[in-house]
Symmetry: C2
DNA sequence: CACTTCTGAGACACTGATGTCTCATCACGA
DNA sequence: TCGTGATGAGACATCAGTGTCTCAGAAGTG
């Protein structure tokens, strides 16, 4: 009796969801025991699916980035005016960024490939911001990195409010979109 | 030969500064050994000043909140129009929030008194935001908690950029002030 | 239903970090 | 300068968390 891939994958996905929730709350203090409990599996089972803590974090990282990057790629942010592109980006991020919220709470300085993943996520955003500065949509007195920092600061907090069910996805998206677009608009 | 309080306090303060820097970078993964090294003292010395990790985090937390709260209290944010109040708040926070940046990177869910400290810090801010909503300065379509979340998201990222010397205090303050005031303005 | 793999529970080993302590040397303060 | 407490280095103890494994029972699959 080998588990059907569908069931095995569903359990693995459930573990990643639980890991995301616990790590979003406790960060690096979260133990594998706590994650297993949240996932509703035994600790030994958690290790059967993810043979080490690193493997679990790696799996979560990949899933988080894949989900967000796919959403952003699908949004076609380069095919529309900057304001619309930013709106789509934010909506995609808030909708698909649940696991990503967990990653903002853990120390990634010693993870492999994280720079590459981060670059893959932020490069389209940087490009969009550059486009906005160049075409006069966005203010040009702040470096693009700072604009990015402001946008990700808004997103991060909204992701956490959404993850904690203190804010809906739609309202959260709308809040970031309007605050950023108005706040970063070229005067 | 008992150390003069001034020297003893200066060393303790240096330890807290170093702890803030290391924790801001590594969060809960930062070890006491790393913190001691960054502070330029032996690990045993670190323990002589702060008898446990919890004591160190507690000391850092108190210092961070004291610094920021004092700055905000001095700013007289209640005595001026909301826009000016927010500008003063942000300037105070970015100027005095270096240690606070470290606290955003650690798990505080099991710390004593953190709710009280957090309340002490955020209550004047909430009050100011409420005033802004009431007098028409700020949009009233978002709950004050969400406005606070957006503002703290901007502040958090700017604090980290300033702490990492990727952004100056003045420019960082100005960025948050303008983005938030414009973005959260009542249309 | 039968069979086979999966799972939970719990025991065990290991380890890095925390915390403690000693002692020779350093450095502050009078 | 001198005396005394502070310090660094290093050794040691403890422990929570990570990782590993066994076995009886559960559960998925055909």
């Amino acid at each position: 009796m080998v588990r059907q891939p569908a069931l095995h994958d569903r359990i693995a996905a459930g573990i990643l969801d639980a890991a995301a929730a616990v790590l979003a709350e406790r960060g690096d203090s979260a133990s594998m025991a706590e994650i297993a409990e949240a996932a509703g599996v035994a600790r030994a089972t958690l290790y059967r699916y993810f043979p080490s803590r690193d493997a679990l974090i790696q799996g979560l990282t990949r899933a988080a980035f894949d989900e967000v990057c796919a959403r952003i790629a699908d949004a076609g942010i380069d095919d529309v005016p900057v304001r619309e592109g930013l709106a789509r980006l934010v909506r995609g991020f808030v909708t698909a960024g649940g696991k990503y919220a967990a990653l903002t709470e853990i120390d990634k300085s010693r993870m492999e490939d994280v720079e590459e993943l981060d670059r893959r996520l932020t490069e389209p955003v940087r490009e969009l911001l550059r486009r906005g500065v160049a075409d006069g949509t966005l203010r040009d007195d702040l470096p693009v990195d700072v604009l990015l920092g402001l946008l990700t600061g808004l997103l991060r907090n909204v992701l956490h409010m959404v993850a904690g069910q203190r804010l809906g996805v739609e309202q959260g998206s709308a809040a970031v979109i309007t605050v950023f677009l108005e706040g970063a608009r070229r005067p």
